[in-house]
Assembly symmetry: C2
Homo-oligomer: 467 residues x 2
Amino acid sequence: MKTLKNHKFVLAMQAMMLMAMVQGSVAQEDDKAYLQTANAIIDEALQRGKAYEMLRELSFEVGPRLSGSPQAAAAVEWGRETMIEHGLENVHLQEVMVPHWERGPIERAAVVNSSFVGTHELTVCALGGSIATPTLGVTAEVLEVQTMDELHQKASEAAGKIIFFNRPMDATKRNTFAAYGGAVNQRGSGAAEAAKVGAVAALVRSMTTALDDVPHTGGMHYEEGVPKIPSAAISTLDANFLSDLLKKGAPVSVNLQLSSRTLPDTPSANVVGEITGSELPDEVVLLGGHLDSWDKGHGAHDDGSGCVQSIEALRLLKALNLRPRRTIRAVLFMNEENGLRGGKGYAEHVEKNGPKHIVAIESDRGGFAPRGITVQAENQIVAKVARWSYLLEQIGADRIERGGGGADISPLVPQGTVTMGLMVESHRYFDYHHSANDTFDKVNERELTLGAATMAIIAYVLANEGL
Amino acid sequence: MKTLKNHKFVLAMQAMMLMAMVQGSVAQEDDKAYLQTANAIIDEALQRGKAYEMLRELSFEVGPRLSGSPQAAAAVEWGRETMIEHGLENVHLQEVMVPHWERGPIERAAVVNSSFVGTHELTVCALGGSIATPTLGVTAEVLEVQTMDELHQKASEAAGKIIFFNRPMDATKRNTFAAYGGAVNQRGSGAAEAAKVGAVAALVRSMTTALDDVPHTGGMHYEEGVPKIPSAAISTLDANFLSDLLKKGAPVSVNLQLSSRTLPDTPSANVVGEITGSELPDEVVLLGGHLDSWDKGHGAHDDGSGCVQSIEALRLLKALNLRPRRTIRAVLFMNEENGLRGGKGYAEHVEKNGPKHIVAIESDRGGFAPRGITVQAENQIVAKVARWSYLLEQIGADRIERGGGGADISPLVPQGTVTMGLMVESHRYFDYHHSANDTFDKVNERELTLGAATMAIIAYVLANEGL
């Protein structure tokens, strides 16, 4: 039913677009001119695009870049130099203090007491923010739950145990981000909830739609006044193994060892560059992604892709000598993954010092084939953006829908900025997300570069025409 | 301009759809019922889909399966057993004779005389259908051309040489199949054209949008009355290397060794299974892919995916107890790659014996995320199919466009069958196509399974409602 309602909404939107299209000849002329511009942007991207080469550099020459790490500092310098190399204007850093959590050298878990197996190693990794275990680890019996409700129903059994949160992402969700949204509370607040009922550690099924043998990390948080207990992700294959073992009925104990620690906050920075607007330079359309990543893989899809697409979008406009009426700015945000300090600091700075941001568009759903734009605004604003969808039809990126903007740009919303997100094909994203599998080779050059072209086209037309 | 015209066509189509949607309440009821059915099909596919497991079997337990090979025979038996296992009805083989070409054990090439390098091995593979070289190979100077016109302009220089066809696929094409279409004549008829001007062999730049170090094979054909000369594909990286070497101006000679041969035609078969229609069992909606593949990689995208999707589409309907008014038939065609004997034999058999095929839908563009359906028919028929696009909107597979059906089903067109093709995201296809990289791990389970669901939904509604 929800889908049918959406369908009717889409039909209504299409009707509005049709009416817009059959109006005056001036608009028709603009449409043709913009279509030629869009064609030129796409041609330039497909023929001489630089996003893929930028991502190769970021992946192999910088590598994973968790906030506070030396690699994150190297990424900031890489971003600054890359923006200058590609001719962006007013390139500068905007300093922020960021959390500094380290995984440390040891993360392991093993089944130690089952009557069915000997010592069986489990593939695990510390969740971001977790405290360490004692040197020899925590050893306790495992209690499996699917939901927080089930945990609290089993509160009397939970004391002294390791809580194993094993609710899979719902495969029937059409968009994998919805499946992620329905499971990720286990990772974020599992440890805190488990501690409330006296547990000694939390093991969380990896947030992925794939059955694989690597753990997928991600942020978790403790609660004020609740004991901190160590928390780790377990691979989906080993989560199934552990669950099967528990089904046999005998108690299963696990030893978990983590060596992670939180260090003092560290200075870091957002990286900013732009094309100054020709007529309204103090009004900004922002394009952005986040420069930090987790410390596994290359952070190629999450979110190296969004960073290089933001730079590439401006390079495409420069290459074609397109200077919009308003300023278009690329921002590589620091610390999306475990603090959002970059996004918050940026919005604070803009609130104090300007310039006014009319629109902000984030790419943080992976460098996959673009499908369109989600707009976090009421229907009338969505329809105004949908007015331009014909420019993106030729590459299949013309879905303009209500939906999320992006984490880094969300602090701009209270200032009246309309936030939008690059929407991409979502099926593969959580196969790689936050794991050692998020590497450069998982990115296709055409898909990445067409995402950059999509951002360039929509930013250019909105920077010219406003909203 | 062409795009703007297409855009207006799409708008007109959308207007037609809007009008259709606001008509009588009976149609509205049907729409809701079909939408519920579509939802159930997609849920079943995402939750309990079998396409991925079928493809794993075909990839690893059968492997590459060039027509006439023992593996192709094993694939036929696999197809028959798999259809029976999943409850398809009237499962049977339909025999055809197929060509039998073998690559043989030796395929190598090396630069042998350049003053710039010593012996430099080039990564090559025989093109399908090529004759062998003499045992010690053909050694000759290389002449690079981009087009057939250029070849004939340089006819006076060509005698005794190896012609190196080096026109890349045009990266600016929005759909990679268009880029392929603009380059593939070099592979298909390069050797014959080269022979006409006295060349002794042909080397053809691999048909891929990727820069990689593997050769991509594919079909080539000789012409009656023109000498047969050996022909091989060269990897895009080595094509660039060879071209750069030639640009330095000194003659470059290459030694090419191929051991391929053509054996007598061999008996093989198409594999057929169905769900018999409840009211009009003698009218058929066909779903198909081709069972043969080239002899590199797994043939996972080309076209193991189309085969398992065709079987899975019927399994999905069976699992939900959906029996359409007309018969839906899955056909795994043999010999698409180098002869189309399966497709031709099938159409001949249907012409003689029936039943009447009203629609045939092929999946042969890889197991990527579905985008919609191409319909090889005039606009009125396209609009009738587009009538049902709302069923596919929730998975982003709702583009209904004029376009190709598929090679295997094309011989049905003269009988009045409307042919259609599953349209998928095309960017990655030619990275893998006809090469050792077309392996199971390149296929994403959700993308594959949603392609099967798309086929099931459109086949079910057309089998019920007709065209």
